[in-house]
Every structure is written in structure tokens, then in C-alpha cells.
């Protein structure tokens, strides 16, 4: 028998014998790998589906002619593109090789559903355009009914109609954003699906489209071109390019479809997959701790076995090999199971998504080599990496250890650990503070955050000793939890101290004489010295739980670390989310001077906005003092895209608090603009100086700075008048209308009056200041919910780790538990003791996680504050964090449930007899 096969045999037989011990490890790897695989497969599948969707829908388009100018503002992946002359279509049609060309007039138009609520607008765009007569050029296919022939007739995509409860023959309103009365005459499909994902589309006559979607007739978003027989796409583009005017380009249909896919990928898919990948990373990180802990405990419990192997002549490497081989088997098996699970999850989601109203494009699951190979590799590396240190430690077992009674845990509060940990913590703090307060740098702050995490992990064992002593103390004064039947006097009930007995690997039942172990009893002298039995505090079960948790600081800390990371991320997001909300509150509070706001959905860019006519109509109401609409524009300044606020500057000063205004907003005119003070300073512009803006239509204009205001939060950095913007605008719309009531008008009646007027404009929401602030924060709650759901997995893995550690501890303390039962601990007391230990460990992890998460949240807020120009508020939400803490504790109790039950089921006699 070769030594390798001996190693393998020992590993396998040991695995078979201790299956249960590795159940937790197996589950942790499996869950992490499944999450990762599911994410990758889903991402690929979605991408492939969109690819085929666009390719299918636009297969009849061989070239697209469009403006070459595009301006991309920060934070938007899709640039604003200028229009082309619709007359180009006729000219292009004459080019040899062209079979057909059609102008594609496009803009935003949001349908109002049968229930009066607008359809969509929560992210994906609500498009409207001309219904292209050439069926092969039109990406939409008529599925039912007929095409629009007369003004007011429209075709809508079937998905939108279903969402809004509309059918052929129905009459409804299309917000363009001016309300337009339309009648549905047909339903359309896109590439075989009921729509382009959640995007809605309304097709109207060419005349209607030009009337409602463009500032003036004769402009189109692009011209779609179909090649005649025998002309390739590139050939066609080459033929078109010479006849196009300056600033207009032609690209192949394939390139256009690819751009569309990329756009969706960029806006949604990449974000989506990155998001999920980050969370599967967190889950795997948490799993690392759990797995490492399990292997460390198993190695400690097997010290005698390993020592025997060494005594019998096994080389150090062979012992390491045995341990690693075990880990490898678990790693491969669990990762493979995780792959299956992940593919299953992706398939399940594909089936589930349509059921919850998210049309997952049809198509086979796309399972690439990467989405299988990467998770497999990660799972194996995580598992083996976690087992590496314990395996090396196993190899160091002295043959003599076989003769000693039990392994002694020498880890924990070594001075070097304390020093290293404190040094790390100091560096982390310094780096972070410098990155946050000195020269603001996300990278420095991020490095500091990572270092802080490392410091927490290194300091964990040291901290656990101190923290658990504190935590175990108040618990001792509680009573009645242990189910102890006897009267409880001043004496803290027994299960507390008993529970302290549970958490250590090393100090097993001491049989042989043991001065050798004396040095281990470091945490000995906590009982007050003095007259022995006069006033000495007596112990309770929770006492025991606490001492058990203290037995092996390293094990306890590692167990808690897993939970700590999970809770830290939860706390980080909770704090950051609360801070964002507080920031919005603060912004609205400081900058919004109006009484009510009429707004388009603020989360997500969807929807078609508000009719520019609305502000004027509202301003005419008898209750209203002023109403100002804020529209948006884009321009390029010094080569960078910037957002413009297009409004009536005089009214703006009433609706918003702009802070100190230098210069005058009254006379911006068509060639003047107002700047935020920060922007003016950054660009070195003073009042009266000139600056040049480039627009999407290719024109450039010089503007004079006529006013500088202090608060840019709602007004943005650039304010232009409507007349200045008019020559460059596309579809006109406002994003918000700020309304101020006349003195003496009460809020309710004022709001009701505005609502009545707004109803005619597609029923946008009218919000009080508070509602406006809250709706701005609504997206944050949505994001937090998603984050919590994703973090649940990491927390679950951490709890599995706690349960696993406890199970192992119960196993190794069988004799002690038996003794406790023999001398009179009831089953209920024993269960309570084990559960308390679990709760204590969870409390430690939760407390650490809250502290770390709170700190990281602060760092994030400060970093955001330092790098952006918005004034960030930092907010620690006490209620939410208390809920997090309670959930952590309760989960700890839950994790202890099974180990406690198993411990209580121990047969007393066997337990005492166990060697």
C-alpha cells in the first residue's frame, strides 16, 4: 500500500465516520457556490435573451442613419443624441442598393391605464413613436387589430396593454407629457415577445408623432434603412456615408442592435449581476469563516488520533495530507452540488420572473464554461484555503500528544495577537480618517475599511474574552429562563455558569494529573477572593454558558466573525440607507420652499415627465401664489456633459430656496445663465463672465453668467431660461413643479385644488413637503429590502456555522454534560445552557458587526460627502439597528436549538462513560 493511498483511505474512512461534522461545511460551500453559479447563469441567460430579442426584432433593418453628436452626462449610460432631418429618408431612399428607408420619430409617451394610473415608468423607458409602415423596418409587429391611420389612433405593445388593462377600441390618455386623447386600434409584439422587456411602446401616425413628440415637424430620431437584394450591411453603410450631411452617420443594423443590447446590459444587467456577485462574495467570505472553524475544531478534536498516526510513523506531510484530502472531498462534492443547485436556482427564477410580472425573455438557459468553472474553482479554493491552516496545525501535532488526555487550546489571547490587532486597527483608523477627513479619497477610505475588517477578525479572540465576560454578567441576574425547578434566592440560577462550560475545545474533562495544563487556566480568578462560602456568588446555567463561550476565545471569535461580517454589511447598508434618506430630507427641508410638489416618479428615469403647461395652469389657480416647473436639458461644457435645469428663474427663487444669490435671476434672458457657487468656483467663472455650451443639435452658444446661487441640491449646477433652451430642445417636459400657496390658504384645500388641475394632465402625484421627501427616499427602501434579502443568505451561513460549532462542542463535552445531568441538571436546564451559549456567541458577533458596520457606514457617508458636492447627512437609525441586533440574538437562540436538543437527549450513563 502506497502512502498516498493510505492517506486517502484514512481520509475517506474518517469522513464517513464524521459525516455530521461536515454537514455544516458542506452546506456553507453549497449555498455560496449555488448563489454564484445562479448569478452567472442568470446574467448570461438574460444577456443572450436580449441579444436574440433585438437581433430578431431589428433583423429587417440593415442600416441606421442618425446624428453623430451625443452628450453623456455623469451617471447616465445612454447619451442624449440630437435629431436628424426627417427628409433624409427620401434622399437616402434614392441611394443605389437601398430598398426602403423610413424616418423613425421617437420620444417619450406614457399611457394611462384603465384604472387611471400611468403604466410603467419605474425604470425602463416609456417610448412613443411613429408606426413605421414598412413592416420589415418596423421592429414591432402588428399582432392584433390594425395600424393607426388617423390622428389619435395608436398601436401599443401587448405587454403594456395587459399591464394597464387596455384592449382594442379603448380610449385613453397618452402623456407626451401633454395629455393626448388616443384610441387603441392595434396591439404589437417585439421580436416575438409582448414587449421589449418592461419598456412600453405606443405607435402613432407620423403626423401625430411629429406633432407631439418633437418640437417641430421634420425631425426624426433616426432613419431606418433596408438594403436591396445582394447588398450587404457594411456595403450599404459605405454607400450611404458619402451622401449624408455633416454630423450625421450611418451604422449597420447589427451594430445598432448590439448597441441596444449593450445599453440594456450597461443600464440593468451589469448592475444586476455585479450586485448579485458582490453578495455571493459576501456569502462566500462568511462561509470561509464557518468552514475554517469547523476544520479547526475537527483537527483539535482529533489531536490524539493525529498524534497516534505520528507516533506510528506518519510523516508530518502525511498528516497534513489526510486533513487536506478530507477537505478536498468535501470541497469537490459540495461545489459540484452547488453548481447543480445554482443552475436549478437560475431555472427556477426564469420560471418565477414572469409570474411576478417581470417578463424574462424566452430562451434556453445559457450555461457557459465560465459560469460553471468559476464557481467550482471558487468553491474548492475557499474550502481548501479555509482548511489549510488547520491542516498545517494537524501536521504539527507532537506524537506525545497521543498520551495526553485532551488537546489544549493555546490560541486566543496571545500578546502578539493583541499587538498585531491593535496595530492593524490603528493603521485602519488612520488610513480611513485621512481618506475621509484629510484628502478625501474613496480608495484610501476603502483600504481603511478593509483593514478595519482585518483588525476586527484578528482582535476577535481578544475581544471575545472581554466582551463575553461583560455579556455573561447581566444575563446572570435574569432568572426563570433556565427552567430550574428550585427556588432561586439571590443566587444566580445555575444554567448560566453551566453554559460557560460549553464553548471550548481544549480543556476537556481533565482526567490525568495536569499541571501541564495549568497555564491554560488563564481566566481563572474571577470569583472574588474572600471567605469561601459566605457571600461568594453562586453560579447559574448562563454563567456556565458564558464560561463555555470563553473556553476557546479563538473558536468563539471565529464562529462569531462569520455572523459579524454578515451583520456588519447589514448595518452598513442600514446606516447608509438611513443617511441617504436623511440627506434627502435635509435637501428638501433646506432647498424646497414650496408647499406642495407635483412630480413624476422620482426613482428611475422612466415616465414621460410633466407637461410644461401644467406649471402655468397651476400658477393660475386662486389658491396659488407661484408655481414653477423644472425641466431638464443637457449640454457639453468643457467637453463634459452636464445637466441643465430649464425653468423660469424668477419663479424658481420662490419655489426653491437657492440660498444666497449674487447677481440677478430676473434678467437671464436667452443668452444668460445662473450657476451654483460651487460650479462657478470650480470653473473659475465670476459674474458677468462668459462660457460656452455645446448642444446635441451640434450648435454652440456663448452664455453670460448673470447669477450665482449657493444651494444646488434641487436646482442643479446650471439654470437656463426656457427661451434660451428652446432652440435646442427635443420633447419638452418638466420633472417637478414646485407650488407655493397664497397666505391664508390651508394645505388641504390648496393641495386638493392642485390635484384637480393636475388630473387633466395624466394624473401626476401631488405631494406635500414630507411626502415629497419620502418619495425621494422610496427607492432607498426598495434597495434596502433587496439588500436584506440577499444578505439573508450570508447570515444563514453564519448561523449554520454557529450551530455546527455548538454541535461539535456538545460532542466533545459529552462527559461534562453527562456529569451535569448526573448531579442533577434537568434537561430543560441543559438545553437552556446550550442555547445561552449560542445566544452569547451571536451577541458577540452581532455587537461586533453593528460596531463595524456603523463605522463603515460612517466612512461611506463621509467619503460620499468628500467626493460629491451634495451635503451628506449621517444618520444612525436606532430602531432599525435594534431590530438587526434582536434578529441576531434571536437567530443565535435558534441556531442553538438543535445542538441543545441533541445535548439534552444524551444518555447520562453513556455520556459519563465516554472517553
Amino acid at each position: 500500500m502506497t502512502s498516498a493511498s493510505a492517506t486517502a483511505r484514512i481520509s475517506l474512512s474518517s469522513l464517513r465516520a464524521h459525516r455530521r461534522r461536515f454537514a455544516g461545511t458542506f452546506a456553507a460551500v453549497l449555498l455560496g457556490v449555488a448563489f454564484l453559479t445562479g448569478t452567472l447563469v442568470m446574467g448570461d441567460t438574460l444577456r443572450a435573451s436580449f441579444d436574440s430579442l433585438f437581433a430578431g426584432a431589428t433583423s429587417g433593418t440593415d442600416a441606421v442613419v442618425r446624428s453623430a453628436d451625443t452628450i453623456t452626462t455623469p451617471g447616465e449610460s445612454q447619451g442624449a443624441r440630437g435629431p436628424v432631418d426627417a427628409g433624409l429618408a427620401a434622399r437616402v431612399a434614392q441611394v443605389p442598393g437601398v430598398a426602403a428607408a423610413a424616418a423613425n420619430v421617437q420620444g417619450l409617451g406614457q399611457l394611462v391605464g384603465a384604472d387611471g394610473e400611468p403604466i410603467g415608468g419605474q425604470g425602463p423607458p416609456t417610448l412613443a413613436g411613429n408606426w413605421i409602415k414598412d413592416t420589415r423596418l418596423n421592429p414591432y409587429r402588428l399582432a392584433e387589430g390594425r395600424t393607426p391611420e388617423r390622428s389619435g389612433e395608436v398601436v401599443v405593445n401587448r405587454g403594456a396593454a395587459e399591464t394597464g388593462g387596455l384592449k382594442i377600441g379603448d380610449s385613453t390618455v397618452l402623456r407626451t407629457p401633454d395629455p393626448v386623447r388616443v384610441t387603441i386600434v392595434g396591439l404589437a409584439t417585439f421580436g416575438g415577445a409582448d414587449g421589449m422587456s418592461q419598456t412600453t411602446f405606443t405607435g402613432m401616425t407620423r403626423a401625430d408623432a411629429e406633432k407631439y413628440l418633437t418640437p417641430e415637424p421634420g425631425r426624426a430620431a433616426s432613419v431606418l434603412v433596408r438594403a436591396g437584394p445582394g447588398t450587404g450591411q457594411q456595403e450599404l453603410v459605405d454607400a450611404l456615408t458619402p451622401v449624408l450631411p455633416k454630423g450625421v452617420e450611418a451604422i449597420t443594423g447589427e451594430a445598432s442592435a448590439a448597441e441596444s443590447t449593450d445599453m440594456i446590459s450597461g443600464q440593468f444587467l451589469d448592475l444586476f449581476t455585479t450586485f448579485l456577485l458582490v453578495f455571493s462574495g459576501i456569502a462566500l467570505l462568511v462561509a470561509t469563516f464557518s468552514i475554517h472553524n469547523t476544520f479547526a475544531i475537527v483537527v483539535a478534536q482529533r489531536t490524539r488520533e493525529n498524534a497516534l498516526l505520528r507516533a506510528l510513523g506518519a510523516a508530518r506531510g502525511q498528516v497534513v495530507g489526510v486533513a487536506l484530502a478530507e477537505a478536498a472531498v468535501v470541497a469537490v462534492a459540495a461545489s459540484a452540488a452547488g453548481l447543480l443547485g445554482g443552475v436549478g436556482v437560475a431555472a427556477g427564477l426564469q420560471a418565477l420572473f414572469p409570474a411576478i410580472g417581470f417578463p424574462f425573455p424566452e430562451g434556453e438557459l445559457v450555461i457557459s464554461g465560465l459560469s460553471l468553472g468559476l464557481p467550482l474553482l471558487v468553491g474548492i479554493v475557499v474550502c481548501l484555503g479555509s482548511a489549510l491552516l488547520p491542516a498545517v496545525r494537524a501536521g504539527r501535532t507532537a506524537p506525545l500528544a497521543a498520551l495526553r488526555e485532551t488537546a489544549v487550546d493555546q490560541s486566543g489571547t496571545a500578546r502578539s495577537r493583541t499587538v498585531t490587532g491593535l496595530a492593524l486597527a490603528a493603521i485602519a483608523l488612520a488610513t480611513t480618517l485621512y481618506g475621509v477627513l484629510g484628502t478625501p479619497s474613496i480608495w484610501l477610505a476603502g483600504t481603511g475599511a478593509v483593514l478595519a475588517l482585518a483588525a476586527f477578525v484578528v482582535l476577535g479572540p481578544v475581544a471575545s474574552t472581554a466582551v463575553l465576560r461583560v455579556l455573561a454578567r447581566p444575563l446572570g441576574r435574569l432568572r426563570g429562563v433556565t427552567g430550574g425547578p428550585g427556588r432561586v434566592r439571590k443566587v444566580p440560577p445555575a444554567p448560566r455558569r453551566l453554559a460557560r462550560t460549553l464553548a471550548a475545545p481544549g480543556e476537556g474533562p481533565s482526567t490525568s494529573s495536569t499541571r501541564a495544563c495549568a497555564r491554560h487556566a488563564e481566566s481563572t480568578h474571577q470569583t472574588p477572593q474572600g471567605p469561601p462560602f459566605g457571600r461568594t456568588a453562586r453560579l447559574s446555567g448562563r454563567d456556565l454558558a458564558g464560561r463555555n463561550a470563553l473556553r476557546s476565545p479563538r473558536r468563539t471569535a471565529a464562529t462569531a466573525s462569520a455572523l459579524m461580517i454578515g451583520v456588519a454589511v447589514v448595518a452598513l447598508f442600514t446606516v447608509f440607507g438611513a443617511s441617504l434618506k436623511a440627506t434627502m430630507d435635509q435637501t428638501v427641508d433646506r432647498s424646497f420652499a414650496g408647499d406642495v410638489a407635483v412630480s413624476a416618479p422620482s426613482f428611475g428615469a422612466g415616465g414621460s415627465g410633466l407637461s410644461p403647461a401644467l406649471a402655468d395652469r397651476v400658477a393660475g389657480l386662486p389658491e396659488v401664489d407661484s408655481a414653477v416647473g423644472l425641466g431638464r436639458g443637457v449640454a457639453e461644457v468643457d467637453g463634459a456633459g452636464r445637466q441643465l435645469t430649464v425653468t423660469d428663474p424668477v419663479a424658481l427663487a420662490k419655489g426653491l430656496d437657492l440660498g444666497e444669490v449674487r447677481g440677478s435671476l430676473d434678467a437671464l434672458g436667452a443668452d444668460g445663465l445662473a450657476l451654483s457657487a460651487a460650479e462657478a468656483e470650480a470653473r473659475g467663472l465670476a459674474l458677468g463672465e462668459r462660457t460656452e455650451l455645446a448642444f446635441t443639435d451640434g450648435t454652440q452658444e456663448t452664455f453670460t453668467v448673470r447669477a450665482v446661487y449657493a444651494r444646488p441640491e434641487l436646482a442643479g449646477d446650471y439654470v437656463l431660461t426656457r427661451e434660451a433652451w428652446a432652440p435646442h430642445r427635443g420633447q419638452d417636459s418638466d420633472t417637478v413643479v414646485a407650488v407655493t400657496f397664497k397666505d391664508g390658504v390651508d394645505a388641504a384645500s390648496g393641495k386638493a385644488a392642485v390635484e384637480r388641475t393636475a388630473a387633466a394632465y395624466g394624473n401626476p402625484e401631488v405631494q406635500t413637503r414630507e411626502e415629497y421627501a419620502q418619495s425621494s427616499a422610496g427607492g432607498i427602501d426598495m434597495m434596502l429590502t433587496l439588500v436584506y434579502a440577499l444578505l439573508a443568505l450570508a447570515v444563514l451561513i453564519a448561523l449554520l456555522g454557529i450551530a455546527n460549532t455548538l454541535t461539535l462542542a456538545v460532542h466533545e463535552r459529552t462527559r461534562e454534560l453527562g456529569l451535569l445531568r448526573a448531579v442533577g441538571q434537568t434537561r430543560a436546564q441543559l438545553r437552556a445552557m446550550v442555547r445561552w451559549e449560542s445566544v452569547l456567541v451571536a451577541a458577540f458577533g452581532t455587537a461586533g458587526g453593528l460596531a463595524l458596520g456603523g463605522f463603515l457606514g460612517w466612512v461611506l457617508v463621509q467619503a460620499a460627502q468628500g467626493t460629491g458636492d451634495t451635503d451628506f447627512a449621517f444618520d444612525v437609525p436606532p430602531v432599525q439597528l435594534a431590530v438587526v441586533a434582536l434578529v441576531g440574538l434571536a437567530a443565535g437562540g435558534l441556531a442553538g436549538w438543535r445542538p441543545a436538543r441533541r445535548a439534552a437527549r444524551l444518555d447520562v450513563l453513556r455520556a459519563i462513560a465516554t472517553e
Binding site: A494, S513, P532, F533, R538, V823, I912
Partner: protein, 280 residues
């Protein structure tokens, strides 16, 4: 209510039968044993390996249940008690000393001693415990951990713990099995003094005639049956009786006692003191 044949018994079993396994693997560890352990006396249970002496002790102490027959502590019939009542009875009325000390490593000496009282949530008689501490000679070790004590000291802690709640009876299972001869003699002396000076009741299982000689009475078991009783034993007489028993059962197959530790008939060479000459 006590109509048992043995009056004034701190603990007793009547017609005790304990069967492990069934069918071919059936083992009758106890086969109709009736014995009482009188209050205020030190009784040793002896017998060859597999004779059922540990089983008898476990059943009499309420750690294990009888297949048939009855066991009682004081006047309380054990078979009528559920697990919780049995636990409480063990806690309040029975003390244990085990071969392998079985102290809790995380607790100090003082805490180990009061463990049963703490589990009950009562303070106990502090004067009594104080006196116990002096008797076992551990006053200066009260705040140490078991790992800091020698084996003999640990077993003395266990003895103090067993008597701390003034139980009706203390059961000792091979209490000297893991000790050297001097420490063993100390522990046996403690048990004897507890009986004679403090009016306690001790039942001790041992296979060491020298240890048995410390008792007031020895009961002999063989093949699950009570075969003899000896008052005022000496090591020589006990050894002789044991040799006779061994000879008598040499043709009987060995009965393994399941789940019960350290019942080997062979003297533990490392721990057992010389078998001669500890006078009673």
C-alpha cells in the same frame, strides 16, 4: 410505607433485574438482586468483571432503570419518577463520586463543590460546606481550576461535591481507580470519616480488596446475583473471597457490561494500591 426486607435502608433494590440487548445478544447484568444499603453505613460492592456491580450501583442511584424489580432512595420508589423528578432526586438526595473525577473544567473548586446546590438554585448549608472544605483539605485551592490540581486533589473536590447537599446516600464508582495508592487511601479515608464522623451513607463499587477493606460491609456479586455479604472486612478476607468467586465462575463466559466503564477485573496496574494490609 417501607415494607422492604431491609429496614432503615438509605437505598435499596428488590428483585432487581437488568437485561441489556435481546435475543442472542441478551445479557442479564442483574438477575434478581435484593439488597439494602443501611443508612449511616459504608457499604462496598465487589465482584468480578461483568458481575453487575456497576449496573447495580447505576440502577440503585437512579442513573439507569431496571428491567424489572424496584429501586428506592430513602422511601421513594424510583420507577414511579419521570426523568425530571429523577433528576431532581439525584440532585437533592444522591451524591456521586466517579472514577475519572468528572469535574467541570471551567468552574473553580468552590463552584464545582456547590454545583448540585447551584443547579437546584439553593444556597445550601454554608457551615456544613465550610466544614467539608476543611475535611477534604482544599481551603487554599477554592479558587483554582481543576486543571491546576493533582488527581488526588481533584477526587477530593469530587468527594466534597458529593456530600455538599447532605444527600441521603453517596455512590462512589471506583473512586480510587485513577489514583496512586497514597491519594487513593486519602480519598477512602475521607469517605470513611464522612460515614463514621458525619453520619453519612456511602455505597462504593470497587474491584480493589484494599479499598473494600475501608467499608463497614462488603456485598459480593457474581453473574448478576448477590452471592455473599461480609461484615467488618479486611483486605485479606476480601481477596480470599474474590479468589473463590473467580474460581467458581472460571467456566462461565465473560459478560461484557455495556456502556459501563472500567469494570475490568484485572487490577489497574498503574492506579491500584497494593492489595495487602490496609487495616479497617
Amino acid at each position: 410505607m417501607n415494607t422492604a426486607p431491609v429496614a432503615h435502608a438509605a437505598a435499596r433494590v428488590v428483585d432487581a433485574v437488568k437485561v441489556y440487548g435481546s435475543g442472542d445478544t441478551e445479557v442479564r447484568a442483574l438477575d434478581g438482586v435484593t439488597v439494602g444499603f443501611p443508612a449511616g453505613r459504608f457499604t462496598a460492592i465487589m465482584g468480578p468483571s461483568g458481575s453487575g456491580k456497576s449496573t447495580l450501583m447505576h440502577c440503585a442511584a437512579g442513573l439507569d432503570t431496571l428491567t424489572s424489580g424496584s429501586a428506592a432512595i430513602g422511601g421513594t420508589e424510583l420507577s414511579t419518577l419521570d426523568d425530571r423528578r429523577l433528576t431532581v432526586l439525584r440532585r437533592d438526595r444522591v451524591g456521586f463520586v466517579f472514577q475519572s473525577f468528572n469535574l467541570l473544567p471551567t468552574l473553580t473548586v468552590a463552584e464545582n463543590i456547590t454545583l448540585p446546590l447551584d443547579l437546584a438554585g439553593v444556597r445550601g448549608d454554608t457551615e456544613w460546606i465550610d466544614a467539608l472544605v476543611d475535611v477534604v483539605g482544599l481551603r487554599d485551592r477554592l479558587h483554582h481550576r481543576p486543571a491546576e490540581l493533582s488527581g488526588g486533589q481533584q477526587q477530593r473536590v469530587a468527594v466534597a461535591r458529593a456530600f455538599a447537599g447532605r444527600p441521603d446516600v453517596v455512590f462512589a464508582d471506583e473512586p480510587t481507580g485513577n489514583l496512586d495508592s497514597r491519594s487513593g487511601a486519602e480519598v477512602l479515608g475521607l469517605l470513611g470519616r464522612a460515614v463514621r464522623q458525619m453520619d453519612r451513607t456511602v455505597v462504593m463499587v470497587t474491584h480493589d480488596p484494599g479499598a473494600a477493606a475501608h467499608a463497614d460491609e462488603v456485598v459480593f456479586l457474581a453473574d448478576g446475583r448477590l452471592v455473599d455479604r461480609m461484615q467488618g472486612p479486611t483486605a485479606e478476607r476480601v481477596l480470599d473471597r474474590m479468589k473463590a468467586l473467580d474460581g467458581a465462575r472460571s467456566d462461565v463466559p465473560d459478560h461484557p457490561t455495556q456502556g459501563v466503564p472500567n469494570t475490568q477485573g484485572v487490577p489497574n496496574t498503574q492506579a491500584v494500591p497494593n492489595t495487602q494490609g490496609v487495616p479497617s
